[in-house]
Structure formats: C-alpha cells, structure tokens
C-alpha cells in the first residue's frame, strides 16, 4: 500500500509539472491571441462607416490569380518555381495583419502551382497555408487532410484545384461576415492580388506578350477598388504603411489609359449551349516603359510584404 502511495505521489508530481508547463504555454498562446483580438477590435473600430453590402461589393472576386495563371499556361509560358514566395517567413512570429496578407500571397502561389499541375510542390504551400489559417482561426475552412492527400498522390488534380479555391472562398466569406474580422479579408485579398500581379509581371519581363501586358494594365481597375478598401482602415498604422507602399505602384497605373468601344451583345444558341457575345470592348494602352516601371514597383511592394 505504501508503495502504491509512493508511486501515486511521484506520478502526481509529474502531472503537476506537466500541468504547470502546459499552463505556461497556454498563457503565452493566450497572450498572443489576446493581442491579436485587441488588434482585431481596434482596426475594426477604425473602419469608416460603410455598409456590409458595399464592402462585399468591393472585395468580391477582386483578385483572380487563377485566371492570371491560366492565361500564362494558355500562352505556353513555362512554369518557374523561382517566381514563388519562399515559405520560411511563416515560421517567424506573425501578427494577424501579416498572417492575413501572407495567406493571400501563398494562396496565389498555390493557384499557380495547381494551374501548372505541380502537385508535389504544392504540398509545401498547402502546409504553410494550413499554419496561417490555423493562426487566424480559420483552419476549419481549409481541408488540409484532403488537399495534402490529393497533392501527395498527384491524383484528381481537378479536385485539388476546386478544393483550394473553394477553401479560400469559404475563408473569405467567413472573415467578411464576422464582426471585427472583415479587415483580415481585405488583407487576404490584397495578398492574393499582389502575388498574382507579381507572377504576371515576372512572366512579362521574361516572356513578353501583348495579352499579358494588357492583363497587367487592366489591373488599374482592380487596384483602384483595392485601395478604396484599404483606405477604410488607413487610421491604423500598419494599413497606412501598406497604402503608402502601394502608392508608387498606383501612380504608375494611373498613367495607363483604358478606353471602351461600345456595342450591343449578340445571343447564339449553339450545340446546346447558350453563348452571349459581348461587342463592348475595353482597350488597354500600355507602353513598354510603363510596363517596366510597373514590373519594378510590383516587385518592391511584394518583396517588402514577404520580408525580402
């Protein structure tokens, strides 16, 4: 009996140490979470009074790295891993602010990898995104297990693409609809957009093509909307700094001229499909010099965001 009591006391001591250590760990984690929660509330409080509907309208589908990557693929531009952001910056301590835009940056990279069917390279990015999503408390929308399995087995790449995009849509919707967290959606969208633009500009400098130049030039419209969103939070120092970083890029985009040709749509019923032919066109006028300056400014903004 004494022996049992002795073992119990030893075990009790062991558990007390474990509980003490884990409570210390928890207090550190809680402290980080509390700081991020305070940051959430403070930034949200700075938001200019704007209706939820207006914000949704502004940010919905603002960035489309998938369409950008599809254009590169369609033009026969070869894949290059050099363009992608390194995942090591995620290992250092990140604030909610940083995690949100990095979630966007790595999402764009994942889209690029998926479009070129580089499933094995995508595994690293899926793990990084999972870390960021968990850090922001949105890990439940990122089906890490299925995504990793699909990427590792290099199978069912259509599902891999679908699930990746769908997870991001779910995260975006959740953040936009959750009080005090819509600013994180704006940052994620910013990250997606800048990385998509960075990929396009890197391709444009190595493999010039008028379609890519035009796609870059028309980002003027999107940057304008994006800055409108970021300006909602400009009273916050981090947002203000980000807006300042985007300003030289915005100055270059402002020089680009976009004109429109008017025309009425035509409707065709062909092979069981209904097709609406748009005869109204947008025409982007971008010179080589303007393009080069945008390439340069995009690189500066994007590299600063990923800590290069």
């Amino acid at each position: 009996m004494n022996q049992i009591l002795y073992i119990f006391k030893k075990v009790q001591g062991f558990f007390l140490i474990i509980i003490f250590l884990s409570s210390c760990q928890t207090s550190v984690d809680n402290s980080d979470q509390n700081e991020n929660a305070i940051q959430d509330t403070l930034i949200s409080a700075m938001e200019i009074e704007v209706s939820e509907e207006a914000l949704v309208d502004i940010v919905a589908n603002i960035a489309s790295p998938i369409e950008m990557a599809a254009l590169m693929n369609r033009l026969g531009v070869p894949f290059s891993k050099v363009y992608l952001a390194g995942t090591s910056s995620v290992n250092v301590l990140n604030t909610n602010f940083q995690m949100a835009y990095k979630l966007g940056i790595f999402g764009a990279d994942l889209g690029y990898l998926n479009m070129y069917e580089k499933a094995s390279s995508a595994v690293e990015y899926i793990s990084t995104i999972k870390t960021l999503a968990d850090g922001l408390g949105v890990g439940q929308f990122f089906d890490y297990t299925t995504l990793k399995r699909l990427a590792t087995n290099n199978q069912n790449l259509d599902s891999l693409m679908f699930l990746s995009v769908h997870s991001y849509n779910e995260i975006d919707s959740y953040l936009r609809e959750t009080p005090n967290r819509s600013y994180l959606s704006s940052l994620m969208i910013t990250g997606l957009w800048i990385e998509g633009l960075y990929l396009a500009t890197q391709v444009a400098s190595e493999y010039p093509h008028p379609d890519i130049s035009e796609r870059i030039g028309e980002q003027k419209i999107i940057l304008n909307d994006l800055l409108n969103v970021l300006n909602l939070y400009k009273e916050n120092q981090s947002f203000n700094e980000m807006i300042q970083d985007f300003e030289p890029l915005n100055v270059e985009f402002e020089k680009i001229n976009i004109t429109y040709e008017m025309g009425d749509p035509e409707i065709i019923e062909k092979d069981g499909m209904l097709v609406f032919v748009q005869n109204e066109k947008s025409i982007v006028d971008i010179s080589e010099e303007q393009l080069n300056r945008i390439i340069e400014e995009t690189k500066k903004v994007r590299n600063k965001l990923i800590g290069l």
Binding site: V56, D57, A60, N61, I62, S64, I66, E67, A70, L71, R74, D158, M161, F162, V165, H166, N169, D211, E214, R215, E218, I221, I222, D225, I258, Y260, P265, I267, E269, M273, L274, V275, F276, V277, Q278, N279, E280, K281, S282, V284
Partner: protein, 146 residues
C-alpha cells in the same frame, strides 16, 4: 447540473447540424462545379435560398458582384436543389445592362450560359427563381480553360 448537460448537448447538436449543413452546401457546390463542364475551372459559388414572391409580386433576387477579365471565357451555371420548388435563373449585368442570361430569347431555360468577356470590369450576377417561386439553388462562376 442537469440543466448544464442539456445546454451542453444542445450546443453539440447545433454545432454538428451547422457542420452538416456546410458539408451539404459544399457537396452541392462541388457537384454543380462538375456540371459546369470538364474543361472549366471553378471560381466562385453562390448558395441561394429565396422565399416566394410577396403579395405585390416582387420577386426576391440574390445579387452579387464579380470582376470579370477581358479575353476570359466565363461560364455561369445554376443547379437546383432536389427539393427546390422554383427553377433557378441566372442573369449577368454590366453598368445596368443585361449582358447574359440563362433564359434564351425563345424562353427556354438553360442550366448555364457562356460569356466570352471582352471588357474588364465589375459585373453583377443575379440569381432568382422562375415565376417568383420559393427555391434553393447553387450558382457557379467558372471559366473555360481553352
């Protein structure tokens, strides 16, 4: 203690039903994205549940905005839930003008329509149900990978 257990059980049931509902929506979205075609890439989904038109005949509409890019061939698809009373219809607008619809001029309703975009900009995607009936559907914005 008993009350606490009831509250705890209620919370568990609520969270499970929420997860089940989200799962069911995701399945519908996945199936509809597949119905859009093998050569398409999914971009956005719109899960739409609308009541029937009110006594004044005003038909409820689910409205969304999307930025569409020039030289991209988009496909908009609508899939009705099995238990939906109404048939989903999807319309595309730009600057207040209709530029696409799943209803042909003949009146035939298609499950999807193609829109080869020639003008980059903000477009409005409206989803409603035929004759203002109550309905549940999923709309998918995808592009044709040419």
């Amino acid at each position: 203690m008993k009350r606490l257990l009831i509250i705890f059980a209620f919370l568990i049931i609520c969270s499970f039903s929420r997860i089940a509902s989200a799962q069911s929506h995701s399945d519908m979205v996945f199936q509809c994205a597949q119905e859009a075609g093998n050569n398409t890439e999914y971009l956005k989904d719109y899960v739409v549940k609308l009541p029937e038109a009110n006594s004044q005949g005003i038909i409820p509409i689910h409205k969304n905005t999307a930025i569409l890019l020039k030289n991209t061939h988009y496909r908009l698809t609508v899939c009705n839930s099995d238990d939906s009373e109404g048939q989903g219809i999807i319309h595309l607008y730009n600057n207040g003008k209709i530029v696409g619809s799943s209803i042909a001029p003949s009146g035939k309703i298609y499950s999807s329509f193609d829109f080869p975009c020639q003008k980059t900009g903000s477009y409005q995607i409206w989803i409603s149900f035929k004759d203002g009936k109550e309905g549940f559907a999923v709309g998918i914005l995808s592009f044709v990978n040419e």
